[in-house]
């Protein structure tokens, strides 16, 4: 531990390191334990050192959220064009699986409305592309996107263990089947909402 560092001496931090450390804190201690001070501790740095790299506690949270979304794999454009519904289904399932690994981060996601970082935009534009392919106009595509996002984040949020330990805490597999069901319902409705495809 390099505990001895005077004011002005550099620690060689950058934003990526800060975000990475924050993710470690979240993954090992849960996201209620995500504090600037915990991150700083892990980096062997004074608490306020963080402020040079991210302005704010909220911005740190945003960065972590978006970073997590980076784990969601990218479906190929070819797949999206060939079979938009299947592409949407696996995109949402993949997103769900990633999000479920960070259950206690979910309330923050909704608070920040799905995080508006680069990763979120990446996933958003693929979604919009697939919906466009289904024949939805821009407005309808936006709305459908929101429905899918709400559903995915919402279900992921329900995977957190309940506060009262008395209640049967619904198994992860069960919840995932439930999510798949809802997703299927929504995708069917969305696909039907576009104009009927003439391409047979």
């Amino acid at each position: 531990m390099s505990r001895s560092r005077g004011p002005g001496e550099r620690a060689g931090l950058d934003t990526a390191q800060v975000v990475a450390a924050a993710r470690l804190v979240v993954e090992e201690e849960g996201s209620p334990a995500l504090s600037l001070r915990a991150v700083a501790r892990r980096l062997g740095v004074a608490p306020n050192a963080i402020y040079s790299h991210i302005g704010n506690r909220d911005r740190l949270l945003d960065a972590v959220l978006d970073d997590v979304l980076g784990e969601v794999p990218q479906p190929s454009v070819a797949t999206v064009l060939r079979d938009p519904v299947t592409a949407l289904r696996s995109l949402m399932l993949d997103s769900y699986d990633v999000l479920v690994r960070h259950p206690r981060l979910m309330p923050s996601y909704l608070d920040r409305q799905g995080a508006r970082g680069v990763q979120a935009q990446r996933l958003g534009s693929i979604t919009t592309m697939a919906l466009d392919r289904l024949g939805l106009d821009e407005r309808a595509a936006h709305e459908a996107t929101r429905v899918l996002i709400v559903n995915t984040i919402g279900f992921a949020a329900f995977s957190a263990p309940p506060s009262a330990p008395g209640e049967r805490p619904i198994s992860a597999a069960e919840l995932r089947r439930n999510f798949e069901q809802a997703l299927a319902w929504l995708l069917t409705a969305i696909a039907q909402s576009g104009p009927p495809r003439s391409t047979g």
Copy 2:
């Protein structure tokens, strides 16, 4: 202000008063400002006085959440039995409208998974009743209930103003139409998932 009260002197609090004060705090200062100390201040009471009535900060939050749900009107049993789909639709719309009035409470709702208090159970059992009427078995009814709840809370959560003020913050009316659309999709799918009604 009765600031002068020695240890042991009663303030005459009860749980309802504490919850009511907490609701006032939330409604006037936003739910991030909901602290035991703020509630205590408003009641003219020492911070730790709250602990006699609710054990915990989380439990206070739960109580507030459930209290808010109390505003959702109860559809009559006759209505539910006559037209379950319409009853479900207006129940969810009413819930949405109530929740939207407390946007910054929504992340907590998801965190506590919709709150398991008496009000939540009241709404839950009406929902289950309607779904049962549609011919869903117990398991299917539970799943459909969860889908509807996730959708409602999720959309309500999106009504909070976004953190980055640059983004166009989507009008309330627009979001509500979007919610109605999603609700219609889900209700259609759910109604079809039950066995076809033989009762003409």
